[in-house]
């Protein structure tokens, strides 16, 4: 119970901090909207082929703006030595990690909530068809990205080249997640047979479960080193 209370306390603190500073969501949102809008100009009006790559553009917007947000979110912990103070607290250290992961997850979802309606207008696409499946894909993909993104932002944040270091460490490892999320959403957007998407949803689920368990087990050692 204390474990979940700690996670809640960290998420609550991050939300209060974000309401005061407005640093993480603002930077993510501006970047995501820029990606969505700028890429929309590469299509000729009424072009049919855009439906094939629209899901990829949405996920690129989420991933790259997310990397920006992860760096900013973790800087709040490093500035002033707060991460050290969290490690000194009488709490399970993996709860600190999952607290930060869920904070980042909430911020990413908020960014997606604003970006996606604008995306659907610019690309003339509806995510309301197969809405539940699209939602599940977004939730699974965003959680997996928050999970590994938070881990690598903790590792890279003290480096002087953290803006470069985070994508270098993170992107190769989340290729399966990006691939599965894009393929699944392509199926939903194009209105293809839902059964075809199951293998990608299974991959997303397996990715999230495996990394949740692995990070829970190793975080204490990762953070000390």
């Amino acid at each position: 119970m204390k474990y979940f209370k700690t996670i809640f306390n960290i998420v609550e603190k991050d939300i209060i901090l974000e309401l005061k500073a407005k640093e993480v969501i603002n930077s993510m949102l501006i970047f995501a909207l820029l990606v969505v809008i700028v890429f929309s100009f590469i299509f000729e009006p009424g072009a049919d082929y855009k439906i094939d790559i629209a899901a990829g553009i949405l996920w690129m917007a989420i991933i790259f703006s997310g990397i920006l947000g992860l760096n900013k979110s973790m800087m709040n912990e490093v500035n002033g030595g707060n991460l050290t103070a969290l490690l000194l607290a009488p709490i399970d250290r993996s709860a600190i990690f999952f607290g930060k992961t869920f904070s980042n997850f909430v911020f990413l979802l908020f960014m997606e909530l604003i970006t996606i309606p604008i995306y659907t207008i610019f690309y003339d696409i509806s995510l309301l068809n197969n809405f539940i499946y699209n939602l599940i894909t977004l939730l699974l993909g965003t959680y997996g990205f928050s999970l590994l993104g938070t881990l690598f932002s903790i590792i890279s944040v003290k480096s002087r080249t953290r803006e470069v270091m985070l994508p270098i460490l993170l992107l190769p490892l989340i290729i399966p997640l990006i691939l599965a999320a894009i393929q699944a959403m392509n199926i939903f957007i194009k209105g293809e047979d839902i059964v075809e998407s199951y293998k990608w949803l299974h991959l997303l689920t397996a990715f999230d479960i495996i990394f949740t368990v692995v990070i829970y087990l190793i975080f204490e050692y990762v953070i000390e080193e």
């Binding site: 700690t6 005061k20 709040n76 050290t84 969290l86 399970d92 000390e224």
Partner: protein, 237 residues
């Protein structure tokens, strides 16, 4: 009789650099140890090891005869750390910072305790101000409030007087005297020989990762101590 804190042959390596080279000493409950030494001597590393922020390369630390790596997470609630860094969120008001840390330490009657510690460091009237608007002295006072909010039994201080104005320095001195009187165990790393000598019950000097001097204060006169320190520091390797 077993010691409250005992350290035996403690070593810590960062890559090829050996920050501590086999330090051994012990403290009783209620001791106030001041640790002196030049920059890079290994003082901060010693504090990090004692407060379980990092693991030793070899050797061990025991609290009440129990090794630090065998202690539960809850044991860390006995530690209060005041460092160079404030351990505060600059975009949160003082009271929100204390509330957050108070919740992590599961403090009962948190609102009352926050009021108590803020009054102790004379910041209660500024409790709603964002921390980023605080001066260096106010920041350090708030950092003291944060470190003491859970009423720790063992307090670690790393250069706590650095950058403090006279008012903040007096507040810190009074708090440390009161904690010592309350039988709290205190370990303070400092460059300030006079202040360290005045407050402590035990004195230690570390140089190049080695413990060169460790005595009860009553075995050393204040006028002698500065000479002892200078002769140790100027010794050839």
């Amino acid at each position: 009789m077993s010691s409250f804190i005992s350290i035996e042959n403690l070593r810590k390596k960062y890559g090829e650099n050996e920050a501590l080279k086999g330090v051994t000493f012990s403290l009783e409950e209620g001791d106030f140890l001041s640790v002196f030494g030049p920059n890079g001597a290994g003082k901060t590393t010693l504090l990090k090891l004692l407060s379980a922020q990092t693991r030793p390369t070899s050797g061990f630390i025991k609290y009440n005869d129990k090794r630090i790596d065998e202690l539960t997470d809850d044991f860390r609630s006995k530690f209060g750390v005041i460092s160079h860094q404030p351990f505060l969120y600059e975009n949160l008001p003082a009271v929100e910072n204390l509330k957050f840390y108070g919740k992590l330490y599961d403090i009962k009657n948190l609102e009352d305790r926050i009021k108590e510690v803020l009054e102790l460091v004379e910041l209660y009237n500024r409790r709603k101000d964002l921390v980023r608007n605080y001066s260096r002295g106010m920041l350090q006072r708030l950092s003291i409030a944060r470190a003491l909010i859970h009423n720790p039994d063992i307090i670690f201080l790393d250069e706590p007087y650095t950058g403090l104005d006279q008012h903040a320095s007096n507040i810190l001195t009074n708090i440390l005297k009161s904690l010592f009187k309350d039988k709290k165990t205190i370990i303070m790393v400092t460059h300030n020989l006079m202040k360290g000598y005045e407050l402590s019950s035990k004195l230690a000097i570390i140089k190049n990762g080695n413990l060169k001097f460790f005595r009860n204060k009553n075995e050393v006169e204040d006028f002698e101590f500065e000479d002892i320190y200078l002769s140790i520091i100027s010794e050839e390797q």
